[in-house]
Amino acid sequence: MSLHGSGTRPQDANPDQSDGGEPANGTTDAAQLPADLQDERLIARRGVSGAIAAFTSRLRSGDLGSVPVVVGLIIIWAVFQVANGSFLSSRNLVNLTLQTTSVGVIALGIVLVLLLGEIDLSVGSVSGVAGAVLAITFVNKGWPLALSLVASVVLGIVIGLFYGLLYTRFGVPSFVITLAGLLGFLGLQLLVLGKDGTVNLPYDSALVGFATRSFLSPAVAYILIAVVVAAYALTRLQGRRARAAAGLSSAPNSVIAIKAVALALVLLIPVLILNGDRGVSSMFLLFLALVVITDIAVRRTRWGRSVFAVGGSVEAARRAGINVRMIYLSVFAACSTLAAVGGILAAARLVAVSQASGGTDTNLNAIAAAVIGGTSLFGGRGSAYSALLGALVIMSISNGLALLSLDSSIRYIVTAGVLLIAVTIDSLSRRSRQAHGRA
């Protein structure tokens, strides 16, 4: 017993105790413990302090999650706020949300592809060509807006399926396929736009209105926060009940309460600031909804589990009966579709599509955002939220440097530095995880 120390619980210490005596003694320690905490080697962590201890030990072993990017974001914001007092103003933060959206949506697709351990270099070009198709069909051909939108999105799906087919049928590396796509769809974009090269979207169209003038009223935003926090707390409590019923350990109510309050603060403080100006943009809300949906899809569905499995070991996934080909097809399709949606949103926000739409910037920003956000380049690790956090980092740098009237030369250099740091952290934490048996 003493060998185990105070932090561990013996599973079947004093087995003789269970045989004789009163019925109350019939149930030993082990029987009262949840099924997943009975192993005597497990280190006991209970309550709020236990949750914190588990979190810090996870960090130490290199399982950093989104901690580096959150810390980085705070540092970047602090630096820019010191350099220019208007950086964290309501007005500028509203601009930041608008700027973040299209890159963030594209980065969300990159996250999915990176989870498989693949890459899509053509998301910028695909977003550009989707914007061009939207502008040409909607403005020049006079199609109804809905039809133009559908055409652009379908184009994204078709491009992704095409990549997936090339990859699964012929085994061409995704790096090369999408490099060809980068050039090819840039060419297609120039071809579609024709001689003029720039098409302006009508300012009073619903799409442009949605992207530039549609904001949530403060009341709606607060109600939304209340609903989200309540849904979170209810889900956690329900999960706790289900685990208890199944005889498994569960987070205590205090931890759930603290997490719910933290979530409420994380949502409430930015919204309070944003409401000082125009408020929460509908477009940004769409992005957030896409992030949450993607997060649920990758973490809580069979499809998402298969994506992680393929990213971890293709052969193991195949042997487990997973339709690996379908997973590749669906992920490439989802990535290109999100790229097309990002292109549409970018076009709507800038009220125009030009030959430069979706240029090199978009491409590299989106890929950098996914990596900076903490999604591993090695596959099988990452989260939909890394698209949100990474896009915020990338666009904060670009926004802050623009406020300081520094031109793109500096912006490229700073972004490159942040990207290098992010990739280095990824590689280091991967090594640390392997050393700590968490790879």
Binding site: A309, A316, I322
Partner: protein, 275 residues
């Protein structure tokens, strides 16, 4: 040399019966007229030298290869297995040597990979993590498996624990036959013992276990019968309790007077005189 053929009991208990299985790769006759029968609640070891055809036979049973000739009777019916998935559906589970686990996923996710349970409350769209975890613990406890937590990535488990997870996963499909390909290769002494205990527990559950191994000590410790393959042909089936290791080794190498058996005989003589 005395080869003790097992009584040809085709009656009750036989789960899997192979008759005249042959397989050729180009000019190479990998398997010729293989006969094998495995009963429920029995550990049948499959031994042979390198290139004897063990892996080919296992892959043929598992549906990775299709036999050129011969019949396979499973559970009293003649079956043709065209793919690994078909074999699994029939109730033939195989744990290959490389285990095929996803290192980045936790134990529960690996156990249920490809057949995840979904929650009826979400109309079957979302995973039922709680039920999967509960059943994982139930299964691991039945196997007396020593896995500290099912919510840690498989990468952090030891070799024996990984083998345990792979074997436990093969049981989820409620198989009748479990084939283990070199389960103790690359394991330490204690971990090997753990896996052998696990094999015995599979037998207690009434499963037919086919154990491929190079390690004669493991075979003698856990198997009920030993089928020897030599150069793609049957070279005897031995009942372990009535056979000496040397006889099996002789059947594996195909000779009574060879380096291995001489050495074994000399050593047993020396031990005998020493004691």
């Amino acid at each position: 040399m005395t080869v003790t053929p097992a009584p040809l009991d085709v009656g009750a208990g036989t789960v899997l019966k192979l008759q005249g299985i042959s397989k050729r790769f180009g000019a190479v006759q990998a398997l010729k007229n293989i006969e094998l029968d495995v009963r429920a609640g029995e550990v049948m070891a499959l031994v042979g030298d390198n290139g004897a055809g063990k892996s080919t036979l296992v892959k043929t049973i598992a549906g990775v290869y299709t036999a050129d000739d011969g019949t396979m009777v499973f559970d009293g019916r003649e079956v043709r297995v065209g793919s690994p998935a078909e074999a699994q559906q029939l109730g033939i589970a195989t744990v290959f040597q490389d285990l095929a686990l996803c290192d980045n996923l936790d134990v529960v996710a690996n156990l249920y990979l490809g057949r995840e349970l979904t929650a009826p409350s979400a109309r079957g769209r979302l995973l039922d993590e709680v039920e999967m975890e509960r059943q994982s613990w139930e299964l691991l406890r039945q196997l007396s498996a020593k896995i500290p937590s099912v919510r840690i990535p498989v990468a952090s488990l030891s070799g024996g624990q990984r083998q345990t997870v792979a074997i436990a996963r093969s049981l989820l499909g409620k198989p009748k036959v479990v084939m283990l390909d070199e389960p103790t290769a690359a394991l330490g002494v204690a971990q090997t013992a753990e896996v052998l205990n696990l094999v015995e527990r599979l037998r207690e559950r009434g499963l037919a276990v086919i154990l491929i191994s190079h390690n004669m000590a493991d075979v003698m410790a856990v198997a009920d019968r030993v089928a020897v393959l030599r150069l793609g042909r049957n070279n005897g089936v031995f009942v372990v309790s009535e056979t000496r290791t040397q006889d099996i080794i002789a059947a594996i190498t195909g000779a009574t007077d060879n380096a291995v058996s001489e050495r074994a005989a000399r050593r047993s003589r020396e031990e005998g005189s020493a004691s």
